[in-house]
């Protein structure tokens, strides 16, 4: 549902906005860890698919963080 991805985008962007005050590597890690620690796998998978689709509207830190999580997985 479109509604649902918008909500995830907003949540992810909010997280990135907090961590963007940190140097980039730390910010990517912070965002990735936060999403890993607090989101369900279904929510993460949904966002992954969205990143793979086109990822418009996502904070760049989110895109990098999701890539980071996939590598770790």
């Amino acid at each position: 549902m479109s509604d649902d991805i918008e909500e995830l985008i907003r949540m992810a962007n909010q997280i990135a906005t907090f961590f963007q005050a940190y140097p980039e590597e730390e910010a990517v890690n912070g965002t990735a860890e936060h999403i890993r620690d607090f989101w369900t796998s279904a929510m993460r998978a949904r966002l992954d698919r969205y990143v793979a689709d086109n990822g418009t509207g996502l904070h760049p830190l989110v895109t990098r963080a999701m890539g980071h999580l996939q590598q770790a997985a």
Partner: protein, 950 residues
């Protein structure tokens, strides 16, 4: 137990290390310096007769009953006002003293009715007892004193719903007046007139108790030695004959009470002087508003139905549990393991919460458990854990007695946490300074004998900007406690933070326009907090319920660390928790990513301990949070929900969204006292137990674990934990407990911070503040004393990010929400008591200018419209509000405050942004569409099948 009569030492305990040794009636006793002769004698077990003295208030010396003889001292001084001196030799009983006391008592009784046998205080009257003690046998002046007899006396003041005032029985000892001043801090009572005309008066001559400034805390009733101020329940039922020690189930203060009983009927609740949280004080909710427990609306039989529009069908426990389990199992078969979950309640005991999360993790096989703390203090947990290492406040309540500067942010303690507020006000009257950061002019800003040094009347949503500005002043004006920071905090994080807050864009001058407060006020407040010796921060939901709630908690932690205000008495960062067991429900593993004791579900070691103990494999994946549950319900992947003692349909934001989600689910099980708003969408109703029936523990805002003891049997026949255990078994997971004490043993076994806790230990010691373990066998009143729990304190960068909820021409005002003294949360309990007399409906508070601009007069019905919806309420024009901000409470469901709140939430925890909603206000003379629909749902979704005719 029999009736527990606490000793009354006559005057308060002195807190000093210095001691004095004296002789009383030839026996020696050593007491703290400043102790009264009366108290010293009482501690020796040799009580001195008294009338105007009681140990909740300072000595007064007016009744002349407690006279003693002291060697080398002329006359017969009053023992209550005479402090002990080294080597003093006192006699408390001599023929001369006897004669004087009897003479004084004669005067009292000559002007007091002799209707003892029919008096409500018969058996609980200090005047009667003292007359007995002094051997009064005759009254030479007759018994027709002119003031106090039926024909001369004024009629009883029955205006307060819970107690009466009968001046004909009054001996003008001033105990009530002093209790109101010293214990409660309201100053609502006085002695009017003088001499024989002296009379206790609430407010001015034209007031009665209800119309006066009285907040109905009951301290005066407790202090009264006669039947003058008396609970109506005692008048109606007679004096109680047994007591049960228990804990209040309202706010996060967690007051200890003696439930005073006759059989299984509560006659009155009396705050317990040995209760660590409240030390013998209470508020109008805890002391008086317990009648909901036996209200006719209580549902005590399990009920089920196929569709939410069907009438409820009363069934047996077995049928209800089988019905719920079958539905849950079939949902899981169809939609997967993760398609069901549950929500725990902060009003239930630790034991009840623990078994619900255990059922979800072990029997449902997922981590879809969340708790109502999600919508209140989840940012506290995240923020304090990140910076300090522990998801909890740092102090005990007593700590406030040592604070020198108190910073209250986004909390309204006199309404939300009244008993703590009384303790705070006592300290303020003794000279501590106060800074209040709040958009509203709350009572603490200015009320009798309390006046804030600074009121930072910030715009809602700018908390983080304010904290950064305060921190900027601390860092740039050389106010950092360098030694503390160097020794106790992470160096690199501090350096980074220091550079960040020192940037010019974080200066008060740069942020002042955003915050809406002049920079000088911010600078002065920062200096006061940083340099005023012990600085203590107390905060509430005005901090957490924002899109930057977690950032704000970290920003406060930063400020406290930078100024060295952590790790001793009188300082700290202290959340004032909304509900009685918010702390406990979080501790008990109610979050979808954390096992009990705040250990992440992905932590294989922690998970392994639980798996071994529970004999089950647990999911390492975080589960759904409440808002995610609603979203998943709407997309069809989440279909079943167990709701323990919570009313998400009323309390969660964006009601339209929540009810749509609830309607789309296949099975909602509600465990509650009443058919609440959520129950309208439920298929199974499992009757719960009130706190008067529970056996367990609550953990208050100071991490204090208190016992809750049943005073009556479960009205529904089963304890809540037993119901959950049965549902677990029906779901296929074998869960058995023979008592709630066994559940606590399991908690202690599996949770390192609780390892020293047991019912036996609590019954012996009264209460314990966690951590209670080998390192801290007697608990931990103050945290982070020698070092932070996480090792070194971590400063976090707290960039101010404005909320996405913005005002514009269509929605020019900001709505913020809060609480009122007499009501509690969604009102399920307090609305079913006489407390509603103080607050019959929710109102919208609005600044006179904003009202005038819209042609709104006081009392007009207005429509409040946000981007999400509209409701209508009566307006109250109020100088407490700043221009541009309006305020309401959400104690009455029909108010529908959450119809208008948005889905915005805290970035880290999804705690909803209740405190900022852009709205427009217009005059309106009708209920909103939602309110009309709400009335309709009430007609259809709450029906119960009528009993079959015999």
């Amino acid at each position: 137990m029999a009736l527990l009569v606490e000793p009354d030492f006559g005057t308060p305990k002195r807190e000093t290390e210095k001691t004095v040794t004296v002789q009383i009636n030839g026996r020696t006793i050593t007491v703290p310096e400043g102790t009264s002769v009366m108290r010293a004698a009482s501690e020796l077990g040799q009580d001195i007769p008294k009338l105007c003295a009681t140990d909740m208030v300072n000595a007064w010396g007016s009744c002349r009953m407690c006279l003693v003889e002291i060697d080398g001292v002329r006359g017969t001084p009053a023992s209550c006002t005479t402090p002990v001196r080294e080597g003093m030799s006192v006699r408390t009983q001599t023929p001369r003293l006897e004669k004087i006391r009897r003479g004084v008592m004669e005067l009292y009784i000559s002007d007091h009715p002799l209707d003892c046998l029919t008096c409500a205080a018969n058996g609980d009257c200090e005047l009667q007892d003292t007359a007995g003690e002094v051997g009064l046998r005759d009254v030479r002046y007759g018994f027709q004193g002119e003031k106090h007899f039926a024909e001369a006396a004024e009629p009883k003041d029955e205006s307060n719903p819970y107690f009466h005032f009968d001046s004909s029985k009054c001996i003008v000892c001033s105990r009530c007046v002093r209790a109101c001043e010293e214990v409660q801090g309201t100053f609502a009572l006085t002695i009017q007139g003088r001499g024989f005309d002296s009379k206790v008066s609430a407010g001015t001559a034209s007031d009665n108790f209800f119309g006066s400034e009285c907040v109905s805390c009951g301290a005066c009733v407790q202090a009264c030695p006669t039947a003058t101020l008396m609970e109506k329940s005692v008048y109606d039922h007679g004096v109680p004959n047994r007591s049960v020690l228990t804990t209040c189930a309202y706010c996060g203060v967690g007051c200890s009470f003696k439930a005073e009983m006759q059989g299984d009927q509560v006659v009155r609740m009396v705050p317990y002087k040995d209760g660590g949280a409240n030390e013998g004080h209470s508020c109008v909710k805890g002391r008086f508003a317990w009648g909901y427990a036996t209200h006719k609306d209580r549902i005590t039989t399990p009920m089920v139905r196929d569709k939410i529009t069907d009438p409820w069908r009363k069934v047996s426990w077995d049928e209800a549990i089988a019905f719920a389990a079958d539905r849950f199992k079939s949902i899981q078969q169809k939609y997967g393991n993760g398609s069901i979950g549950g929500i725990t309640s902060s009003r239930c005991t630790n034991e009840e919460v623990f078994v619900v999360q255990k059922m979800i993790r072990a029997a449902f096989g997922n981590n879809n458990v969340d708790t109502c703390a999600r919508v209140c203090h989840s940012p506290t947990g995240y923020g304090l854990k990140t910076t300090f290492g522990t998801s909890a406040g740092t102090q005990n309540f007593k700590s406030v007695e040592k604070a020198d500067v108190i910073l209250v942010i986004g909390a309204n303690p006199t309404d939300g946490h009244p008993v703590f507020a009384s303790r705070m006000k006592k300290r303020l009257r003794a000279g501590a300074k106060l800074i209040v950061a709040d958009p509203r002019k709350i009572d603490l800003v200015r009320s009798p004998h309390v006046s804030a040094s600074h009121h930072i009347q910030l715009r809602p949503g700018t908390n983080v900007a304010l904290m950064n500005a305060l921190a900027h002043v601390v860092v740039t004006e050389g106010l950092v406690d360098e030694e503390f920071v160097a020794e106790r905090c992470e160096e690199a994080d501090f350096a980074r933070w220091r550079a960040f807050v020192a940037e010019a864009r974080n200066a008060p001058e740069a942020l002042s326009e955003k915050i809406g407060v002049d920079p000088q006020t911010i600078r002065e407040a920062a200096r006061l907090y940083a340099t005023g010796k012990n600085g203590a921060i107390y905060y509430g939901l005005g901090v957490t319920e924002h899109s930057q709630g977690s950032t704000m908690v970290m920003a406060m932690a930063n400020l406290a660390m930078a100024t060295g205000n952590i790790g001793r008495e009188g300082v700290g960062v202290n959340p004032l928790r909304g509900q009685n067991n918010v702390q406990g429900s979080c501790d008990m593993g109610s979050f979808p990513h954390e096992l009990p004791g705040y250990r992440h579900v992905a932590d294989a070691v922690a998970r392994g301990t639980f798996e071994a103990d529970w004999d089950v494999t647990l999911s390492p994946e975080p589960g759904l949070r409440i808002p995610n549950m609603f979203a998943a319900a709407l997309d069809g992947s989440f279909r079943g929900l167990f709701v323990q003692g919570e009313d998400i349909a009323q309390s969660d934001p964006n009601t339209h969204h929540v009810t749509a989600a609830l309607e789309s689910m296949e099975c909602i099980v509600v465990q509650d006292l009443f058919l609440n708003e959520t129950a309208a969408f439920a298929q199974v109703f499992l009757p719960g137990t009130s706190f008067l029936e529970k056996d367990g523990t609550f953990t208050n805002a100071e991490r204090r674990i208190n016992r809750v003891r049943p005073v009556m049997t479960e009205q529904s026949g089963l304890s809540e934990w037993e119901v959950v255990a049965r549902l677990s078994r029906a779901m296929g997971y074998d869960m058995h407990y023979s008592s709630s004490s066994e559940i606590m043993d399991e908690i202690a076994r599996l949770t390192p911070t609780f390892s020293g806790v047991s019912f036996a230990r609590l019954d012996r010691d009264g209460s314990l503040q966690w951590p209670v373990n080998d390192k801290a066998p007697n608990g931990t009143p103050t945290m982070h004393v020698a070092g932070f729990v996480r090792g070194k304190g971590r400063f976090m960068i707290t960039e101010y990010v404005p909320t996405e909820e913005r005002t514009n021409r269509s929605f020019p005002l900001i709505l913020t929400t809060g609480r009122i003294l007499s009501q509690y949360n969604v009102g399920a309990q307090t609305r079913r008591t006489e407390n509603s007399r103080w607050h019959e409906t929710d109102v919208l508070e609005i600044h006179p200018f904003d009202a005038e601009e819209r042609g709104i007069a006081d009392g007009d019905r207005v429509s409040i419209q946000s981007r999400k919806g509209a409701v209508s309420l009566p307006a109250q024009i109020s100088e407490r509000m700043p221009q541009g901000v309006v305020y309401t409470t959400f104690h009455h469901p029909v108010s529908g405050a959450n119809v208008i709140t948005t889905e915005f939430s805290d970035w880290a925890t999804n705690c909803p942004e209740y405190k900022v909603t852009a709205v427009q206000i217009v005059r309106s003379n009708q209920p909103s569409d939602w309110q009309v629909a709400y009335e309709e749902i009430k007609r259809t979704n709450y029906r119960t099948e009528s009993e079959p005719a015999e």
